[in-house]
Symmetry: D2
Subunit: 292 residues, 4 copies
Amino acid sequence: MIPYKLAARNGSNINTTIQISSQEGPCLIGEGSLTVIAGPCAVESEESILTNAFLVKEMGAHILRGGAFKPRTSPYSFPGLGVEGLKYLALAKKETGLPVVTEVMDVRDIDKVMEVADLLQVGSRNMQNFPLLQELSRLQVPIILKRGFAATVEEWLLAAEYIMSGGNHQVILCERGIRTFEASTRNTIDLGVVPLVKELCHLPIIVDPSHGTGKWQMVRPIAKAAVAAGADGIMIEIHHHPEEALSDGEQSLNPQNFARLMTEVGMIAKVEGKEFLRINPSPPMHSSLNAD
Amino acid sequence: MIPYKLAARNGSNINTTIQISSQEGPCLIGEGSLTVIAGPCAVESEESILTNAFLVKEMGAHILRGGAFKPRTSPYSFPGLGVEGLKYLALAKKETGLPVVTEVMDVRDIDKVMEVADLLQVGSRNMQNFPLLQELSRLQVPIILKRGFAATVEEWLLAAEYIMSGGNHQVILCERGIRTFEASTRNTIDLGVVPLVKELCHLPIIVDPSHGTGKWQMVRPIAKAAVAAGADGIMIEIHHHPEEALSDGEQSLNPQNFARLMTEVGMIAKVEGKEFLRINPSPPMHSSLNAD
Amino acid sequence: MIPYKLAARNGSNINTTIQISSQEGPCLIGEGSLTVIAGPCAVESEESILTNAFLVKEMGAHILRGGAFKPRTSPYSFPGLGVEGLKYLALAKKETGLPVVTEVMDVRDIDKVMEVADLLQVGSRNMQNFPLLQELSRLQVPIILKRGFAATVEEWLLAAEYIMSGGNHQVILCERGIRTFEASTRNTIDLGVVPLVKELCHLPIIVDPSHGTGKWQMVRPIAKAAVAAGADGIMIEIHHHPEEALSDGEQSLNPQNFARLMTEVGMIAKVEGKEFLRINPSPPMHSSLNAD
Amino acid sequence: MIPYKLAARNGSNINTTIQISSQEGPCLIGEGSLTVIAGPCAVESEESILTNAFLVKEMGAHILRGGAFKPRTSPYSFPGLGVEGLKYLALAKKETGLPVVTEVMDVRDIDKVMEVADLLQVGSRNMQNFPLLQELSRLQVPIILKRGFAATVEEWLLAAEYIMSGGNHQVILCERGIRTFEASTRNTIDLGVVPLVKELCHLPIIVDPSHGTGKWQMVRPIAKAAVAAGADGIMIEIHHHPEEALSDGEQSLNPQNFARLMTEVGMIAKVEGKEFLRINPSPPMHSSLNAD
């Protein structure tokens, strides 16, 4: 018997589609659309998040990401700007009109994060933080549920079930790489889960090739592969100056490579028959482009 | 450079020893002692925890374990009795005089758990729940920090560092099996970490062969192996009627096998030169023994 | 220092291209082309391999695969037809004009296999069979070197180096899935290695989504993903009646799904700017098509 | 249904015991005995293997190991002395009277190796080299079958079945560590397989803590743990000057640590009720001892 009753496909062809409202009209995640979420790993300063948010908008991506509360392996690493970071995110949202997603790690932060975010992200390390999942199950806000780096597909869908069983059916699954014996990349991106999850479950699934590979050179090919495998979206780390990023610089795309990714991913989306509405596909400002 | 400054051995031979006070006098965890923590997976009822607590005491084990808040993969599984379970644990502690350890998953439960527990356990899924680690770092109570099922040794020691860097130096590491390709056991117990951690770090390390193997038949040999490898203690799931347990019955020892484990582990402890003070080594009551 | 001197890219942009001669003119593997290798897991009978070989040709794939010597986990499983299977493969080659690849497991079989095969395959279990690699290094025939299911990228490239250092530079790398904790698919396909290997090494790399996923439903999306990630080719298991196959039936495509794969992969190849010359793209015979 | 018919325990309590004949009388592997196999990773020279062989004998170990044909990840690493190494092994056997085990990788080498060896070793990389297993199945000589570094227990027992189903029932299983996400040790030693294999199968099982850990500091505690877990023997890499070893120096014990291991393992064996007959427990010559 399938243990995730609400997340299971159960023979139906109907897929969950999630609607995000934004200043520029609704944006859809799920069947028929390809959604690009992009932004810096962390909100580093007011100036930095604004620069990156405008870049995201110029490139025609749909949702801005940026971490205010950062889970860090070491207690001595930069933990994010916290509440101050949320304030800058709110500003970036207001200035660009982009919907915003940010991570929540602590049940006590949910209210504060909800004031800014249009979607909440549950990070890989918290996929089985059950008190957090239970609190999120009581909200009516889309949740991006990252797969734990050693979570089986069944555990992942059961984590989604925690959120759904409390009444929040707006769950977006996000593959972000798993931990294997292979150490030459940060994680092993598991694109097989895209068709597998589509077969088992009706929820949208997106892919994060930035964490999934850990190397910016691999992000573009793997983003395209994710779309070709059937993903409903991708989540990309970008930075206007990756070499100066406070975290994850090696896996962040600079503006030039981000532009190239958007063009090429769009071509794959077209082959896949996915709508790839680029919100505001204005040409990127030359001043913000660096060569790689 | 070693990133876990406070947990690192740094060339010193001095090991951290942690003292647990109990009605019957202090109990030590660390160099020179072998500590046995035992009890049921979950606190199931007042009667059940009392029966098992007396069994733990009769067998001469040192600390009672029992879960009130249970992390469960499925939202539809028994989640523990919660606050009611804590009440029964308090009673078992009072009746037997045994110190008590129980898991805390939610920062909002810490105060309640602290009213009962002599040690707090951070479970495998919460090893990188950083807000939880930060709250625990402000307490003065011993923390059993289970290794995440896909955590590297470095990540584990950095999680200990989170607790230590906030001021709580009473951390006990607990190996409980890792996730590998091998599916014939619940987890793969990694006993190599015992000598490895002893070389890198001055904290005590114990082993949980119950979760580490998932099969009661393997618990006794692996418990002995853990002690032979140099572990400072073992944590064992027992149940007076494993076949009726609400969770983890297949990995719980019945009274007869628990008695045999205590005898044999004691013999290995002696070879290792470890003090294995059995608090109250009264012969187990015949009525509570089942055959396997 | 890079330990695989001959396989390493060493800053050069020149990629190795391998030419396979066939009755219908040369076929290229490597930069600029997308090569499709297809056929049944095992050569099962004269009739079966002929049917499948014509299917491969009709669909416009480039190379016929089929196992005569099969590595089987159990000594009681069908081990392939051996020398008899080679005879049938030779007939299929003659009748269709397709180049043929088949696996060699035993150094004593190399001469026999060489009489038929245009390419030799080293299977996953033999990636570190060093005497076999050394014998193959003395030949002048292309070798498809499958990645061991638990081999790191460095070990894989060093296995290629074994073949190259003996004088045979015609090595084609083949990713076919690795072994991880995830048990819901036969293997975890690691598409991240496609861009990674392209960065490290000048050899062509192809992907086997059949073994990589173990489920025919996942083969088409993962084949497309492989091409989008930059693979130089794909290797596909097909069968005119998968439900009757002697091995690997669950991961073999029936004619209808194979046809769909060829069409869709061709579209991705076009986006990638790859030449996808379909040797003889005649419409598949209706009689050989089954519905899924 | 259990797929390994001959290897399976099938409810019987009878365990296979394997008898090795030597100049000093028979030596048993299996129930009731603890067997120590020791020697250098590779046969490096006549002088070196003689020195180490006498060391093995002086310490009271039972069987000499030493590699003449070495599987090496890189084609540029020392591959062993080959036939010359066999000649030196034969001399060491004659001089010390110790039985000898050495690895065979190539079916074409079996006859040559059989002239010297009392037991043949199948290495981790060849556990699924089926042509090799089939040739060994026709011999009447004990085979030490190392577990593949990513082999499941079922695959391992099926590899044993290959040897048994051909008529050679003298198989000794050897756990030598598996490959996991943990990179701080060379492999992850899986001691859980000792009780697991004992439950599933009647064949003897030994443990190789040298490869299993990759660090000499961990070898002694893990050797003791293996015996406490129920292993029938241990296989240890030693070297009279580990720092000068041509391979595996970091995991080889020097004479002083080897002596300490023998003493401590003997104490655990006694607790386990195992006979630990030290063939010639003369005190080690002082000249051959180094400090660690």
